[in-house]
């Protein structure tokens, strides 16, 4: 097997016993990139020189016996994470030339853990989208079917892992942007509890919903990544100073006697029958593992999409006000006065979906509409959170489909924003409630497209997610396929 196809824990073993060098791993990743990147387009920017230098440095450390959790492991970073001295675009024309003078906290943490950065992964512009089609740098394609979307907004991070163009990657999840592409690309994706992983240096879309998390090839790798990513950051006021367990200890533990909540609101009409079948199969596996399924209700589920599409655009309309052409990024040429500069820089700098959301958000916060929209949405959001609090009194983990359908065709939903928004219908509630969620591969459609099952747990219970996902992964024995590229 090629090194680039391996997991972190497999490579760690090999690094320790000297059967592979960090340079060999990085080289295998870049030769894979040379072979498939043109078709998949996982990356906005490759960092080959930096990566090879970092790998060389890792090899020196390894020789000295200094092996850290991610020493020599090639990682892709969603281009929403600020990287010091390296252009960070957020998939947008307006930031096409922005070079941050600072690193995101997670970039610092990954660096300290010995990671080798492969490049900056493609994404929907400002993480606004579910298909990676809104990127100013062009769409990313699903490695399982190049005519289809990989999901989004962290599409590039998902495909880079799925197509073995890296070992693991980092994405961000505001309404499903890690879990949905993970499901559609057949990899593991975790959105941690709000406040668990620092947002400092993550370019904000919707501050109260954004959270950074990993894409990995299996659940154990997810635990390894979480050990590096999680933790309090004094640079972020909403970061929570709670103890971080060793997530790896949850791998391989059984779930005998666990109560698994099956929310009736998530098994509705309109779900692709192949998804329903795969999820029913997953429930059976969980029961075989000793899990006891209980019917639960999350009564405010039907309002999630509406609430999300008020709160997220409202925050975004304010978060994106700083892109005005004054200090950095794109500034329209040939303008004569201030207002024109603002208007033209933003008109030419932002794509259609970003503008749509800025307008929705601006409207929702406007005088006379605030109470009916933003305030009401915040109140319903509190009810959605309460739904989960109540549900977790009755069960340990909630099981749902990650997506209502497998990957759809490129261009299929670009003209119908509402249909696009509904592809996040099962993932949005998690962000509104601030709880963690994981998507794990649970099979393939008849046409060979991956399907994901989602597990949700209460705040700061990522350990439970690792435990059930790992138990499921071990017992489901999903056939390990690789996309034919």
């Amino acid at each position: 097997m090629e090194f680039n196809q391996s997991t972190i824990h497999e490579l760690q073993e090999k690094i320790k016993n000297g059967s592979v060098t960090a340079s060999q791993i990085t080289e295998s990743v870049f030769s894979r990139i040379d072979a498939v990147e043109e078709r998949v387009h996982s990356y906005i920017r490759l960092m080959k020189e930096n990566a090879l230098a970092a790998a060389k440095k890792a090899d020196e450390d390894i020789k000295k016996g200094d092996i850290k959790p991610l020493t020599g492991i090639p990682i892709a970073l969603k281009d929403i994470l600020c990287t010091k001295g390296i252009t960070t675009t957020c998939g947008s024309h307006i930031l096409h030339n922005f070079v941050p003078p600072y690193n995101a906290t997670v970039v610092e943490k990954l660096t300290a853990a010995g990671a080798v950065f492969v490049g900056k992964a493609n994404m929907d512009e400002f993480a606004m989208g579910s298909s990676t089609e809104t990127s100013w740098f062009g769409p990313t394609r699903n490695p399982w079917d190049l005519e289809r979307i990989p999901g989004g907004s962290s599409g590039g991070s998902a495909t880079a892992v799925a197509a073995d163009e890296c070992i693991a990657s980092i994405g961000s999840d505001t309404g499903g942007s890690i879990r949905q592409p993970a499901a559609l690309c057949g990899v593991v994706g975790l959105k941690p509890t709000y406040g668990r992983v620092s947002r400092f240096g993550l370019i904000a879309f919707a501050s109260s919903l954004d959270q950074i998390g990993p894409f990995t090839k299996d659940v154990e790798d997810c635990a390894i990544m979480m050990n590096v990513l999680a933790g309090y950051d004094p640079k972020e006021s909403t970061s929570v100073n709670a103890e971080v367990p060793d997530y790896r200890q949850f791998v391989g533990r059984d779930i005998k006697g666990w109560k698994i909540g099956i929310p009736k609101e998530y098994f509705i009409e309109g779900i692709d029958p192949e998804i329903t079948a795969a999820i029913q199969q997953a429930i059976k596996v969980i029961e075989l593992c000793g899990g006891v399924c209980v019917d639960i209700s999350l009564p405010h589920t039907q309002y999630c999409v509406a609430v999300y599409y008020i709160i997220a655009p409202a925050e975004a309309s304010s978060n994106l006000a700083r892109y005005d052409g004054v200090r950095y990024g794109f500034r329209a040429a040939d303008v004569r006065e201030l207002l024109e500069m603002y208007k033209e820089s933003r008109r030419q700098g932002f794509g259609a979906e970003v503008k749509r959301r800025i307008m929705i958000g601006t409207y929702a916060l406007s005088a006379g509409y605030y109470d009916a929209y933003y305030k009401k949405a915040s109140q319903v959001r509190a009810l959605i959170k309460k739904d989960f609090d109540e549900a977790f009194k009755k069960c340990d983990v909630i099981l749902t489909p990650t997506t209502p359908t497998p990957a759809f065709k490129i261009g299929e939903k670009t003209d119908d924003p509402l249909q696009m928004y509904l592809s996040d219908v099962f993932t949005i509630s998690t962000n509104l409630a601030g709880i963690p969620g994981i998507s794990v591969p649970c099979g393939y459609s008849t046409s060979g497209l991956p399907i994901g099952v989602q597990f949700l747990a209460s705040h700061f219970e990522e350990g439970k997610l690792i435990q059930i996902a790992s138990a499921y992964e071990k017992n489901a024995k999903i056939e390990k396929r690789r996309p034919a590229l």
Partner: protein
């Protein structure tokens, strides 16, 4: 028609913290443009604010000093608008839930106490500054001031004249400076004021349409702008016009207010709670701790001066208007034990010297020990009041002690009775005619003898002693 004026003020005070409100950049005034900045206050992508707790404590101090209720929970909100001096496209401020509300400040209006209500106090960050090129159509942005902490103190529309407004402003200014949370410098913008003003026929309950006045950067200008605006509104109403709700800018040179933007053009700031910051929770223990640290406030000090030092309310007012002056005064009193005399010297000669040189008491060359010593020397009769006038001026000019000055100038008063008796005896002998006149009842001649003695002693004779001796000796 007889009109009543209604005025409410919004004061912005810069907090005297070392670092900015949401990052660790310096708050120092001036500095090379954009040298006191970092990714956070520059509003770069992905950065996050972390609240400087000192700002909350300073705001709490002001809240307590102005009798406000401190809210147990308050939050920051985003005020959204575009301007090049506002790097994030929004200002972090407080809106629905400010740190404190429902306070008041007491004014002395025609000898009676008047309460001016304080609606709210909230915390916010300052914006940057634009510098426009005078010769080219280019503007530069300096973001040193961006993120400097401010509190905004909003009054009720309780003031009824420009004088009351100016008085209220002075009281607020005094409290802020006393608390050492604001340097009060109006020229550098550490203390800024906007005014809402309207008029209504006396007796009418409803408020008239108000205008908002901006750009008044001194107490005097606030008063002038208000006076102008009231006259303008009266003229309008009396001539069949109506006041339009709008923002007007004070033009100092022109001595007038000019329309800046109308209500229709007013911004919709789209306030909403800042999701990057968590609510601030204030418990009783925290409030008590701040309360315990509060210094004596101007009003309390004024009352204490009147009671403890038995000085007139006017003196107490002057001496407590500046905390350093009050401290200076108290030290002098402690050293010399003569409160009224100390107040006279301080408010008279010393303040006159300082005013002439446009100096503050902080820059006064006379040490408190020196002034106290001089007062003691007068009391002991070592120097006369007249000599003291000369001494204090020298003390101010040189910073020397009164003893040194007296010695150098040979100013020591002759209080030796024997020596004076000799002098007086010879003067009476030389002026027998005048002595006889005095004895025959012409008391006016007494002054002549005093003058002669002073002339003979070059003014060094203790005048009291001269009087006593002369009376005795002339009587024969």
């Amino acid at each position: 028609m007889d009109f009543e004026t209604v005025i409410g003020l919004e004061v912005h005070a810069q907090m005297l913290t070392d670092t900015k409100i949401f990052c660790s950049c310096s708050t120092k005034f001036g500095g090379t443009p954009n040298s006191h900045t970092c990714p956070v206050c520059l509003g770069m992508p992905g950065v996050l604010p972390v609240l400087n707790k000192k700002v909350v404590e300073y705001a709490m101090k002001m809240a307590l000093a102005t009798n406000c209720e401190i809210n147990k929970s308050c939050e920051f909100a985003r005020k959204n608008y575009f301007y090049p001096d506002l790097p994030k496209g929004y200002q972090i401020s407080q809106y629905a839930y400010p740190i404190a509300e429902h306070g008041y400040v007491l004014l002395d209006v025609n000898g009676e106490q008047k309460k001016i209500g304080i609606t709210r106090i909230h915390m916010e960050e300052d914006a940057g500054k634009l510098i426009h090129d005078e010769h080219n159509p280019v503007s530069y942005v300096d973001l040193n001031r961006t993120g400097v902490p401010l509190i905004e103190i909003v009054s009720e529309p309780d003031m009824r004249s420009p004088e009351e407004a100016a008085d209220y402003l002075k009281r607020l200014h005094e409290i802020l400076v006393y608390l050492e949370i604001c340097d009060g410098n109006m020229e550098e913008g550490s203390f800024r004021c906007d005014a809402n003003v309207s008029i209504r026929p006396r007796g009418q309950k409803e408020f008239g349409t108000r205008t908002e006045l901006k750009n008044m950067n001194s107490f005097r200008n606030v008063q002038r702008a208000l006076e102008y605006e009231i006259k303008r509104q009266q003229y309008l109403v009396e001539n069949g016009g109506t006041v339009v709700q709008e923002t007007r800018l004070w033009d100092d040179a022109q001595g007038a207010t000019n329309s800046m933007r109308s209500k229709e053009e007013a911004h919709d700031y789209r306030y909403f709670p800042d999701p990057d910051l968590v609510p601030i929770l204030v418990d009783d223990a925290w409030v008590e701790k701040i309360k315990a640290d509060l210094p004596e406030l101007p009003l309390a000090k004024r009352e204490r001066f009147v009671n403890e030092y038995q000085i007139p309310a006017y003196d107490a007012g002057v001496l407590t208007a500046d905390k350093t002056l009050a401290l200076y005064y108290e030290e002098v009193v402690k050293l010399c034990g003569k409160p009224k005399v100390a107040s006279n010297w301080l408010m008279g000669d010393v303040m006159r010297f300082l005013n002439e040189d446009k100096r503050s008491i902080r820059e006064c060359p006379i040490k408190t020990e020196s002034l106290a010593e001089m007062i003691k020397l007068i009391d002991e009769g070592a120097i006369s009041g007249k000599m003291a006038k000369e001494v204090v001026e020298d003390m101010y000019k040189t910073g020397k002690s009164p003893q040194d000055i007296i010695k150098e100038k040979g100013l020591v008063q002759i209080t030796d009775e024997g020596e004076l008796i000799k002098t007086i005896t010879s003067i009476i002998e030389a002026n027998q005619a005048q002595a006889a006149e005095y004895r025959s009842g012409k008391e006016k001649v007494f002054g002549f003898f005093v003058g002669q003695v002073m002339k003979a002693t070059k003014g060094k004779a203790n005048p009291q002693l001269v009087n006593e001796l002369l009376k005795k000796m002339l009587a024969g």
